[in-house]
Every structure is written in C-alpha cells, then in structure tokens.
C-alpha cells in the first residue's frame, strides 16, 4: 500500500501522483493520511485503484472520478464525487451540499446524511444515501438512480427529467413536476441491486421504498404550466 501524507507533501504532489497512474500500475492501493479537510483530494483520478482517505475532506473530493474506488473514513465537504464518470466513492460519515452533482456514472455511497442539493443535475450516477437528504435534492436530475434510506427534504426532484428516485422515509415536499410513481417488479429488482451495491442490503428492503419520477409536464414549455416554474 502506498501511504501519502497530504499535510506533509501537499495536494499537487498527491494528485500528480494519482494522475500518473494512467490505469497501468501495480500501485493499486493508496491511503491518504492527514487530509485535514483539504479540497480537491483525489480529483480527476483515472485508474482502477483503491484509495482510502483517513479523515474528513473539503470540497470536491473525488471530483470527476473515473474507475477508482475512493473511500473517505470521515465526512466529505461540498461537491463530493461531482461529475463522477465511473468507479465508486464511499463516504463513511456525512456529505455536505451537492454530493454527486452532475455525476454521469459510477456509484456514490453516503453512509451518513447528505445535505441539500444531493444529486443535483445528475446524469447517470447511482447514489445511495443511508441517512437523510436535504432540500432541493435531485434538482433537474437527468438520469441515474437515487436511493434514500431515510427522509428527503423539501422540493425533492424539482424540474426532474428521467432520474429515478427511491425514498424509504418521508418526503417533506415534492418539487415541480415530480410525482410518486408505481413500484413495479423491475423497480424492486433494480432497487435490490442498488441496495446491495450500496452496502445497505442489510438495512432496508426494496418493498419499503416509494418511487418518484417526472410527470413530464414541463418537458415542452406550456404557458398553462407557468405557475409551476
């Protein structure tokens, strides 16, 4: 295992080393110590490596991740795994605002709670939150799946496109054009897989969730819907 002391060696040296892996390496296990809430830790990694961050991170940890599995042994600041392309990011603690924003692929697991705007504008990522999510989550979410074992805050899925949202607990309110939808067998199967991959299959059953999606009434501008905007 490669151990990197971020406090001693600095962010540039860390990301430069990780970017140099280029998918062809035997240095497949990394640990980052003394992160001390630094921003942009392991941003832009593009290699099938396992990275463990021992502590909490600042903004944009694992930003635009490709291929890597990145585990944060603490909490994550705003924008964790933003625009992730592939791979897996696991947050043992809580995540701040915009977790998984615009993510295009891969899996983001948040063991604690996620703050507001979780999954905002998501474009294919799967997000599994073991706790609750804050207000305006999944705003303009385009595709991918959001699974919430706890509760969702106000205006869930506002202006939603084709993302699928599964919430086990309460939803304080639904955003414009977001509606509850029927849970069909294919959704149960999809959710079972997401719970398993999201390390939550021992915590919840698919049958306990409700599904939310787009009513598709805002897809083409209609003046009669103006009040919804």
């Amino acid at each position: 295992m490669q151990s990197f002391d971020l406090s001693a060696n600095g962010l540039r040296a860390l990301n430069s080393s990780l970017h140099a892996l280029k998918g062809q390496t035997n240095m497949t296990e990394w640990e980052i110590i003394n992160p001390k809430g630094s921003h942009a830790i392991a941003a832009g990694v593009d290699a099938p490596v396992d990275i463990t961050v021992r502590g909490s991170t600042g903004y944009y940890c694992a930003g635009m991740n490709k291929q890597a599995t990145i585990r944060v042994k603490g909490s994550a600041g705003p924008g964790v795994a933003e625009n992730m392309m592939s791979g897996t990011v696991i947050i043992d603690g809580d995540a701040s605002q915009y977790a998984g924003a615009t993510g295009r692929g891969g899996l983001l697991i948040i063991k604690g709670n996620a703050s507001s705007r979780c999954g905002i504008s998501m474009k294919g990522i799967d997000i599994v939150v073991h706790g609750n999510i804050g207000h305006m989550s999944c705003f303009m979410a385009q595709s991918g799946n959001m699974v919430v074992l706890g509760d969702a805050g106000e205006a869930l899925g506002d202006s939603l496109y084709e993302a699928r949202l599964f919430v086990r607990g309460s939803v304080k309110s639904l955003g414009a054009d977001c509606i509850e939808k029927e849970m069909r067998p294919e959704h149960i199967a999809l959710l079972a897989d997401l719970l398993k991959r999201g390390e939550a299959d021992d915590k919840a059953k698919p049958e306990d969730f409700k599904r939310y999606g787009s009513a598709r009434k805002l897809y083409t501008f209609n003046v009669d819907n103006a009040a919804a905007y």
């Binding site: 942009a40 944009y60 930003g63 635009m64 924008g79 202006s159 084709e162």
Partner: protein
C-alpha cells in the same frame, strides 16, 4: 382645403407599430417572445468613439512598411501552458446544438487558419470542432452538458461561464425542435424535449466557492490549462475583481449586444449593459488590483469591424471575441436567401428565430438537410478572410496612432461623439477636454 379640417393621423412614439405588434402577439399566444442574437436596440457603442490619429504631436507609423504586432498571450498568470494567438480576435462560445456540426467545423477551420481560438458551448465538445481547431477553449457551464475530464484535458483552455451579455443572471433554453438524437445523447436527455440550462452552477455559490472550483479544475488538468471566467456585463467592476480574486487567468466580459442561441426578447433588451460601458470598469478593477495585463481581458458584444477591435483594445482589452459577426461571415442572414427568409415570415438581416432550427443558411439548425447547405471548408475560408480583415483594419488604425503593437493603443487615442459615450468610455467629448463624471 378639407385636409386642414382634421388633425392628421399621429402615431404614438410610446405605442409604436413594433410595440403594438408585440402586444398583439403576446395576447394571441400567451408566451413571451423567444429569439436568438443580442440586443437590437440603439445603444451607445464603439461607433460613438473616434480615433484621433497622429499629426504633429504624435508620430504615425508607415502603413505598409512598419510592423504592428497583433499577437497575444492568454493565461500567463497560473497556467503552465498559456495560449499564444496570432491575432487578438477569438471566436466566442457557441454550442453544438445551437449550431450545426458543419458550422462548428467551419468556425474551427476559420479560426485555426487565422491563428486564433474557437470555443465550445453549452453542449459539450464535438470531434468536428476539436479536430479542426488548433486552439480550442472548452466551456464549463451550469448545465455541465457533455462535461468530462477527458475533454477538459484535451482542451487548450477552460472557460468557466458565470454569465453572458445577452442574459446576465439567466439560464439557457434549447427548444425541442433542435434536439436531434446526437444532441440528446451528448446532453443525456430525451430527444425532442425543451432543454433548460440552469442559471447557476450546481456545485458552487459565490466567489469563495468559485475559487475552490477553479482549484479543482486546475488540479484535474494538472495546472496546465489557462482558466477563463466569463461574466455578463452587469456589474463589471466587482465581477471582474471577484473573478481575479477567485484565481482566473483570463476574464471574458460580454456586453448586452452579445448574442445567445435563444432567450426571451425582454431579457435581451432590458438586462445588462452595453460593452462600451463595461470595458472601462473591468479595466479599472484590474488596475486597482495591479493585475491589468497580468490577468488578460477578452471583451465581446457587438464587435463587427477592425475599428471596434482597436477601440476595445484602446480601452484596455487584451483581445476580443466575436460570435454573431462570425455567423454572418459564414453566411447567416445572407440576402441571397431572401426568398427563404420571406417564407419564414422574416427578411435577411432580421432573422433571429435561431431556436426554431429552420435556418436557411444551415448554421443555427440540427436539420440534416439544412445543415448540408453550409460547406465547412468554404465557410472556414470566409471566416478566415473576415478575421484577417478585422486584423488589418485594426493595424491600420493603430499605425495611424503611432502604435507598433495593437496593445499599445490607449484611451488617449480616443475621443467621443456623444456625452453618453464620453461618460461611459471615460474619454473626452470630441473637441473638448471634458470627460463627464470626472
């Protein structure tokens, strides 16, 4: 004599025919007018400034013998690989989606042949554009359509778009008519639906966050790429200062004459400031921070001629960007297509329903048949020619002012024709030493 017995018909200035027509249109449809392009109203502009030229008190350069440099470096503040352009006229961001594939290719060809850069838009990077653009600026927008780290790394510079001159504070809209299979795929959305682009970035709010966002982008691209921050001309002093504080290498400032693919007419005509009023404030912000020429300033919005280029640079810009003018150079609104414009209920020069995707010139469309009308090689050649003319014209003026580099032009070379333009540009009213407000 009976004609003197009645008051002749008198049209209202307030309720003009144009205004009344819009009222009737709104009453009939229930929706605001959406269109492309920039402000069409008469605004204080570069036309209201004149160069003084050299005579006895200044020494001119010989037009055909003495050199006048036009090249510019962009991104020298932090980037390991700053951009060097032969001319200070760049192509502004315009999306694939708003424009056809051949149009994007033509922009890349023309810009590359002229030694300058082109810019992606709110739809990701296309192979046509990357392949034909020697220097390509990749926009980082609120929608993040098509955004990915591979394209970030194969760009030559990155432009974080906070706003644009046609709609400072507004998001975007690409109507369903232009959402082809390819556009839909690039944007991760269903075909044929109206695609909204948010007005704010999804993962940062305010200048302190922006600073961290720029750090992340620099880290992902290993500090190689210049990072531009584009702002709409609304509060240029403070927005420029905050962009510099956040770490921008280059500030791109777009006035209200700057075009858009589509937004509300009421937005285009009533929000933001003309570029003439914006430039001096942005330059002052850079000067107050000791960053003028260290953080480069690119300005856009209504640049049409080499005189406009020279005037913008005399006011302190390092380079300019053109969008609408580039489209016209490719063939947009060409009178040769008048019969087809008539069929669309408009006329050459006035066509602005770019969002409908029915452009007879094959530029602002995704219709495969219409797109074929634009030959990207010919279009590229026309754009190159136009860019060369802009440069030659600017050089002509600079030499007449005794400058051996376009960047040596200065406000002292200018006077203003109107009180308003004198106040906005911060140069004396012609024939006086009076700068209103000073």
């Amino acid at each position: 004599m009976t004609e003197f017995l009645h008051t002749p018909p008198k049209q209202s200035w307030t309720f003009s025919n144009d205004v009344n027509a819009e009222i009737r249109r709104a009453a009939a449809t229930g929706i605001y007018d959406i269109r492309g392009g920039g402000s069409k109203r008469r605004l204080p502009h570069f036309d209201d400034l004149l160069f003084l030229g050299a005579s006895i008190s200044r020494y001119p350069l010989e037009g055909y013998r003495e050199k006048c440099a036009t090249d510019v470096w962009l991104g020298t503040r932090f980037a390991k690989k700053p951009i060097h352009l032969d001319i200070p006229v760049t192509i502004a961001g315009m999306s694939f989606g708003a424009l056809s594939g051949p149009a994007k290719e033509a922009l890349g060809r023309g810009a590359s042949a002229a030694g300058t850069s082109t810019t992606t838009g709110d739809g990701g990077m296309t192979e046509e554009e990357r392949g034909h653009s020697k220097t390509l600026v990749y926009q980082y927008l609120p929608s993040r359509y098509g955004m990915n780290p591979d394209d970030l790394r194969r760009a030559d510079a990155i432009e974080v778009v906070v706003g644009q001159g046609a709609k400072p504070g507004g998001g975007g809209m690409l109507l369903g008519q232009k959402i082809s299979d390819r556009v839909a795929m690039m944007r991760n959305l269903p075909k044929g639906i109206d695609q909204r682009s948010a007005c704010r970035h999804p993962d940062w709010t305010g200048p302190d966050d922006l600073e961290i966002k720029l750090l992340e982008i620099r880290e992902i691209t290993d500090w190689e790429k210049p990072i531009y921050v584009k702002i709409g001309g609304a509060r240029p002093y403070y927005d420029t200062a905050l962009a510099v504080k956040a770490g921008a290498d280059v500030v791109v400032l777009d006035g209200m004459q700057g075009g858009t693919a589509a937004t509300q007419d009421v937005f285009i005509e009533n929000v933001g400031m003309p570029i003439l009023a914006c430039i001096p404030l942005a330059v002052k912000a850079l000067q107050d921070l000791g960053m003028h020429r260290k953080v480069q300033l690119i300005v856009s919005g209504g640049i049409r001629t080499g005189a406009d280029v020279a005037k913008a640079m005399a006011l302190g810009a390092d380079a300019v960007a053109i969008g609408t003018a580039a489209l016209i150079a490719l063939g947009d609104n060409d009178p040769a297509l008048e019969a087809e414009y008539r069929k669309l209920g408009t006329t050459a020069g006035a066509y602005d329903d770019w969002h409908e995707g029915r452009d007879p010139a094959g530029i602002t469309t995704q219709d495969p048949e219409l797109s074929k009308r634009l030959d990207p090689i010919l279009g590229g050649r026309r754009l190159k020619n136009y860019l060369k003319v802009l440069t030659l014209e600017a050089q002509t003026i600079a030499r007449a002012c005794g400058k051996n580099n376009l960047h040596n032009l200065e406000p002292e070379d200018l006077c203003a024709l109107t009180v308003e333009s004198a106040a906005m540009a911060g140069v004396p009213l012609a024939g006086t030493s009076w700068i209103p407000g000073r």
